[in-house]
Amino acid sequence: MNKPLLEVEDLRVRFHSKRKTVEAVRGISFSVGRERIGIVGESGSGKSMTGRAILRLIREPGEVQARKILFDGIDLQSLSEKEMRAIRGHRISLVMQDPKFSLNPVMKVGHQIGEAYRVHNRSSKAEAKKRALEMLEAVQIRNPERVYDSYPHEVSGGMGQRIMIAMMLIPEPDLLIADEPTSALDVTVQMRVLQIMDKLVRDRGMGLIFISHDLNLVSSFCDRVIIMYGGRIVETCKADELQQAKHPYTRGLLAAMPHISSPCERLSVLERDPKWQEEASVDAFI
């Protein structure tokens, strides 16, 4: 495609406790261009930690290591916390999974969106409000004025997720990480949210990392797919080639899913091979 926006090499995330050290991410390398890249994998495979590690949001007792995390030519690892704050939200954003917990329950929605804008842009309150309302409209909220003055608990899940997206997009980031942004939503609402993101990605040409555990969804929504298992990348491929994936893990996952159109007596069960744990991580550069 084009020049990568983000390059990650040998990313590792560890959690230390008195008794043991958990390796959540174990040396993965990938890059993201101005495209939609999907990360899938079972629960605990390290998807979320990857996203958070890029933004340096992992705190003690967690520890992040990487040979390289290069974003638009900037070495994120070498930045001070203050410089990093300027990147967060402004250049790279992260949409969290569940709007119910990810919005501050005691702050008005509009204020939370406006805050995201004002952190990075010196502007008046009125200006921030104007931008927030525009943004709410952009994510297809019908009555932005009303929603602006609502509290998170007063909006539905689908709306909350759109608010979340609006909040993360208002500083116009170059890279958006979406961590299971639709898994808490009803299927019908899910579609609408995906459409919004899709449209914004295409219009603005930003990069999107879409984290999910839904193979179906990722293959239909993304350009490329990274499949993670046990903190490593076991396979990567073009999204539309997912059905032809080669790794036994990916194949097992695909086979284990029931399908409406093709009924079967028994579902095939994924047989885990301990060897997978030892395999080297696959690089997923563009």
Partner: protein, 263 residues
């Protein structure tokens, strides 16, 4: 009644039949009707699916049938007998339920052994050790799990324990409330297979609730689609697969389950 008549009747009647079920929550001013006029029936040995989005009232129907919610009206027939608002002990030996979240449905401070023995103690059943071991084998766990605590088990293993618990009293009808929605696809497959096996082996009747159309399509004979507390459509799985569903809401559900479709 003569016993022969009872046998005859049982052949004919549904295992579970619900007519015009209304369920309410709250009191007075805050009273809210969560289920409105729901009717369906599940034949003996059948597997019936209830689909619908979050908040449509699926769980409420199940919890009402199982007796966890008492503010309802309508008729619930179990094997032809209407049941009361108060359930007796015998009732629990015919109907049991499996919950959605395996992380929340096991008592965190009780061993598997205690969780599984408790129904036996409550109903004064003998041979507890043997039965617990057998149940663990039945759900494919093996006896080595017997004295573990829930936190020592994975999600799939927990769900197996929950299924084992529901089978301890040897019920005929199993209410399944999204038994796999909290699990990974790979684990989901294991549980769905286990449920299918058990149904066959123990001749169980299932009422399965889920929001995943693919799962009902795989597991069930008939399905009902719920929306806002009402059943909008009842059909067989075949009908769903082949013919276009009639209700627009069902169609929307079906389309969404195909994956993302760009505008």
């Amino acid at each position: 009644m003569h016993s022969s008549e009872i046998v005859q009747q049982q052949e004919a009647v549904a295992a579970l039949e619900i007519q015009n079920l209304d369920v309410f929550f709250g009191q007075g001013q805050d009273r809210l009707q969560a289920v409105k006029g729901v009717s369906f029936s599940v034949p003996k040995g059948g597997s019936f699916g209830l689909v619908g989005e979050s908040g449509s009232g699926k769980s409420t129907v199940l919890r009402t049938v199982s007796g966890l919610i008492s503010d309802w009206k309508g008729v619930i027939n179990i094997k032809g007998n209407a049941i009361d608002h108060r359930r007796d002990k015998a009732f629990y030996k015919t109907i049991q339920m499996v919950f959605q979240d395996p992380y929340a449905s096991l008592h965190p401070r009780h061993t598997i052994d205690r969780t599984l023995s408790e129904p036996l103690i409550l109903h004064g059943l003998k041979d507890r050790d043997a039965r617990v071991d057998q149940a663990l084998v039945d759900v494919g766990l093996g006896t080595s799990f017997r004295f573990r605590y829930p936190h020592q088990l994975s999600g799939g293993q927990r769900q197996r324990v929950a299924i084992a618990r529901s089978l301890m009293l040897e019920p005929e009808i199993l209410l399944l409330d999204e038994p796999t929605s909290a699990l990974d696809v790979s684990v989901q497959a294991e549980i769905l297979n286990l449920l299918a096996d058990l149904r066959e082996r123990k001749n169980l009747t299932y009422l399965l609730v889920t929001h995943n159309l693919a799962v009902v399509a795989h597991m069930c004979d008939d399905i009902a689609v719920m929306n806002r507390g009402e059943i909008v459509e009842v059909m067989s799985v075949e009908e769903m697969r082949n013919a276009e569903p009639e209700h627009p809401y069902t169609r929307e559900l079906l389309m969404a389950s195909e994956g993302y479709v760009p505008e």
